[in-house]
């Protein structure tokens, strides 16, 4: 009888401090960061894990590609012409820990990085440079976005300029 009470008391004490153990399953395309007492302990991959609910928490990250596409955006070029552009790209989480800390919602980061890089590279180009071929600008944008996404724990998988028309500029004026 005393032993029974002792066991019950121990269970209640454990529950008080650690909560109940819960089972968590991470799928093939998911990664997780295990936090213990609020601090990150380790990264966990696909599988089944036991987590003490009162002490531990797992932040799950989806590693499937995040698609970004943007159509018919206008930007003023360096020589006064206007470019109407569109692009598509994709990125995925490479480092879960960095990705979690990069923004409140890490899935917004690829769109932000690609939009910023595209606009700033195009704004620094001239109409004649872009008319000669936009591959250079595209690779420049991709390089900048790649570096920026790497800082946020992400990998740029693809980037394409899907639409680029230039209005105004020296050649059109002639």
């Amino acid at each position: 009888m005393l032993l029974g009470f002792g066991i019950a008391a121990t269970i209640l004490l454990i529950r008080w401090f650690y909560g109940w153990p819960a089972l968590l399953t991470l799928l093939e395309y998911q990664r997780g960061i295990l936090f213990r007492k609020g601090l990150p302990v380790r990264e966990i991959g696909p599988g089944r894990y036991r987590v003490w609910t009162g002490l531990e928490k797992v932040f799950t990250v989806d590693t499937r590609p995040i698609q970004v596409s943007c159509e018919s955006q206008a930007v003023a070029l360096g020589d006064g012409a206007t470019a109407v552009y569109g692009f598509s790209g994709s990125a995925r989480v490479d480092d879960s820990h960095k990705a979690i800390y990069s923004a409140r919602n890490y899935r917004q980061v690829p769109a932000y990085a690609l939009l910023c890089c595209t606009r700033s590279v195009l704004a620094g180009s001239t109409a004649s440079e872009l008319r000669a071929g936009h591959e250079g600008a595209a690779s420049h944008i991709a390089a900048r976005a790649k570096e920026r996404l790497a800082r946020a724990g992400m990998e740029l998988l693809s980037f394409n300029i899907t639409q680029l028309s230039i209005r105004g500029g020296p050649e059109e004026a002639n």
Binding site: F5, R15, Y112, S120
Partner: protein, 183 residues
């Protein structure tokens, strides 16, 4: 003696069960490394909690969570009137984040959207005192000015901006038209 011991054990178990049942309704609050918790007791702010697992011990206690991670914000083709009263625009990207979790919670219901309104206002005011020459130096200088101007205002609300990046300035030929000035 044995009877007394049994009574004590029984009493202890009863107390523990009652406490456990009471605690069942008190949800544990988990504060991760990128968050801060604000402990309020009977509606009064008491302290900022760092990473850890907390359980409100009595009904008057409440813990509010604040996310300290940055929120990227894009302002594209943002219109303003420059120092010569000419219509102009600027595109920029910035990151908003919480500087003081207590102030941010006390002053703003929606920390991101309310701060964006304040930031837009300050950016417009800052830009209205400038005349853009389209140069990279101007872009760098204006990014610093915007950062300090917006932060002066957001500081009162417990927020701040970082990594202000000018992605587009009006083209130089339009600036040449503006150089004629208000006359």
């Amino acid at each position: 003696m044995t009877d007394l011991l049994w009574q004590l054990v029984f009493l202890a178990v009863i107390v523990m069960v009652l406490v456990a049942l009471r605690m069942r309704n008190k949800k544990r609050v988990y504060v991760t490394e990128y968050q801060r918790g604000l402990r309020f007791v009977n509606g009064t702010f008491k302290e900022v909690l760092g990473p850890g697992s907390y359980r409100p011990l009595f009904s008057g206690q409440k813990i509010e969570l604040v996310d300290m991670r940055p929120q990227p914000v894009l302002l594209e083709v943002f219109p303003y009137r420059d120092a010569f009263q000419n219509d102009s625009y600027i595109s920029l990207g910035l990151e908003l984040l919480v500087d003081d979790p207590y102030l941010a919670t006390k002053m703003l219901k929606d920390q991101v959207s309310d701060s964006i309104s304040v930031a837009r206002d300050r950016i417009r005011t800052t830009m209205s005192h400038t005349v853009c020459d389209g140069s990279l130096e101007f872009a760098a200088r204006i990014a610093d000015q915007i950062t300090s101007s917006v932060n002066d205002e957001l500081q009162r609300l417990g927020m701040k901006v970082t990594n202000v990046e000018i992605t587009e300035l009006p083209p130089p030929h339009r600036m040449a038209e503006f150089v004629g000035g208000p006359n």
